[in-house]
């Protein structure tokens, strides 16, 4: 368990910004998956978490949004412990997991309407614009179960985009996406960082982003090391 040298000091310095995790421990069965992981991602930054299969990337993301309980450690959003006001924290985060979180029997537009509608009112124009941004404008009236895996992923990205959340936790968002889709993903992340949002992306294929926005962390077998990106 080895957090990078400068991280601890930086974390206390401007802790009231972005998401900070401190000493996270988690076991899955007998495996000590997260061993004292600490990280701090500020506004306007995107942390890419890379690592081999089974190294705990998904678990880390799920632990950050409290889908999986932690044995030890704290997660802070904008300086406040997320356990103090979980509803407020959840209101500001958008999570994209392995599953797309879309209902197969509803059309793409309906999915967006119902999914994002739980968070804030969404007009047809807005959902149409989001689908267009993600490259699938023609699919708004098509039931999701008839879409290909890549198309579904794009609709799921549209959901994340439309949610207006400040914190994006994306787990392998590029899976099933073609080259154009990967480029789209990079653009979306860059735009999100530009607008001051925070994102953590678990991926095994590094994404191209402007160097000032991006840091890359490697989740090696059971530890997280943060490396500055070579420009």
């Amino acid at each position: 368990m080895r957090p990078a040298a400068g991280t601890a000091a930086a974390a206390t310095a401007d802790a009231a910004d972005g998401i900070a995790a401190d000493g996270l421990h988690l076991w899955r069965g007998d495996t000590h998956v997260l061993q004292g992981v600490s990280l701090h991602v500020r506004a306007g930054e995107c942390l890419q978490v890379t690592g081999a299969n089974g190294s705990g990337k998904t678990t880390l993301l799920r632990a950050l949004c409290a889908l999986v309980p932690l044995e030890a450690g704290r997660v802070c959003w904008r300086g406040c412990d997320v356990h103090l006001d979980p509803l407020a924290f959840r209101g500001e985060l958008a999570y994209l997991g392995h599953d797309n979180g879309l209902k197969g029997d509803l059309t793409a537009a309906e999915n967006l309407h119902y999914a994002v509608g739980l968070r804030r009112r969404v007009t047809r124009d807005e959902s149409g614009a989001a689908l267009e941004r993600c490259g699938v404008p023609a699919l708004r009236g098509v039931p999701v179960r008839r879409l290909s895996a890549g198309q579904r992923r794009r609709v799921a990205l549209a959901r994340v985009l439309l949610s207006g959340a400040s914190l994006w936790l994306l787990d392998e968002p590029g899976s099933n996406l073609d080259a154009a889709g990967s480029a789209l993903l990079s653009e979306l992340l860059a735009a999100h960082a530009q607008a001051g949002g925070v994102s953590l992306v678990a991926t095994h294929q590094a994404l191209e982003l402007p160097a000032d926005a991006q840091r890359r962390a490697t989740l090696q077998a059971l530890s997280l090391t943060v490396a500055p990106v070579m420009a």
Partner: protein, 266 residues
């Protein structure tokens, strides 16, 4: 001060040692009280004027039935403690209680049926007490089935804790609804405060047996819980040191290399 004690108790190595020391203090008195109760009940208590000698099975049936309910409460209580305070030891205790409680329930059912045969003429008569014991057995089996079905121990702990808490809220409801449904069985004669309808010579052995069963349960659950803790903490450093010291040099060295801080320990 009490909180320090509480959390210390929840630490696995501490619990393991405490349980080992405490078990004989529960086991031997259980045996003695049990013998005293059995002798008093089988030899010294006078035959009931209505049921003759057949009533003597109450000395096993009533404590077993009482304990089946008490064990469920202990199980639900320790499951709740484990859920709220995240104590692995409490979950281990809850897991240990289940088979013990199920066995007591089965014992109560069997002795109840054996008692029923000479009294009612039939082994099973759907009287409320036995029927509610049967439903309690199903609750235990459901708990054990759920535990078994979930692979990850921690998730199994938490899910079965929720089930136990839901069950413990339901047990009085089920019990009274079954009594409401049928009023054939005789009123419970021991639990009346003030005027027990049994003479002292019958009552005292019953209370002795009750105490004996309870102490026996205590010894049993501590022993089982130690085994549970052993199974859960098998990778923990303290466990390996404790075993390695007795296992000798060759094995201990390689075991110690794999030691890691155990989950749940500070």
């Amino acid at each position: 001060m009490a909180w320090v004690w509480f959390h210390k108790f929840g630490s696995p190595p501490h619990f393991y040692r405490l349980a080992r020391r405490l078990t004989p203090w529960l086991g031997w008195p259980a045996l003695l009280l049990g013998l005293a109760g059995l002798i008093g009940g089988l030899v010294f208590a006078p035959p009931d004027y209505q049921q003759g000698d057949g009533f003597r099975i109450i000395y096993v049936h009533a404590p077993a039935a009482w304990l089946s309910l008490m064990v469920y409460s202990v199980m639900a209580g320790s499951a709740a403690v484990g859920l709220i305070w995240r104590m692995n030891v409490a979950h281990a205790v809850a897991a240990s209680c289940a088979p013990i409680g199920a066995s007591f329930t089965a014992l109560a059912l069997v002795t109840g049926m054996l008692w029923g045969r000479p009294m009612w003429g039939t082994y099973w008569e759907w009287d409320p007490r036995l029927t509610s014991e049967l439903l309690l057995l199903f609750l235990y089996l459901g708990y054990m089935g759920l535990r078994n079905a979930i692979d990850d121990i921690a998730r199994a702990d938490r899910a079965s804790a929720v089930l136990a808490i839901v069950g413990v809220v339901n047990v009085p409801i089920i019990h009274y609804s079954v009594i409401w449904w049928n009023s054939l069985h005789q009123a419970p004669s021991v639990m009346k405060i003030g005027r027990p309808s049994m003479p002292a010579s019958m009552l005292v052995p019953l209370l002795l047996m009750l105490a004996a069963f309870t102490l026996y349960f205590g010894a049993l659950v501590l022993t089982r819980a130690r085994g549970e803790v052993l199974r859960r903490e098998r990778h923990a450093r303290w466990m390996i040191e404790a075993l390695g010291a007795s296992a000798g040099g060759a094995g201990a060295g390689s075991l110690a290399a794999h030691a890691a801080p155990a989950r749940g320990t500070p």
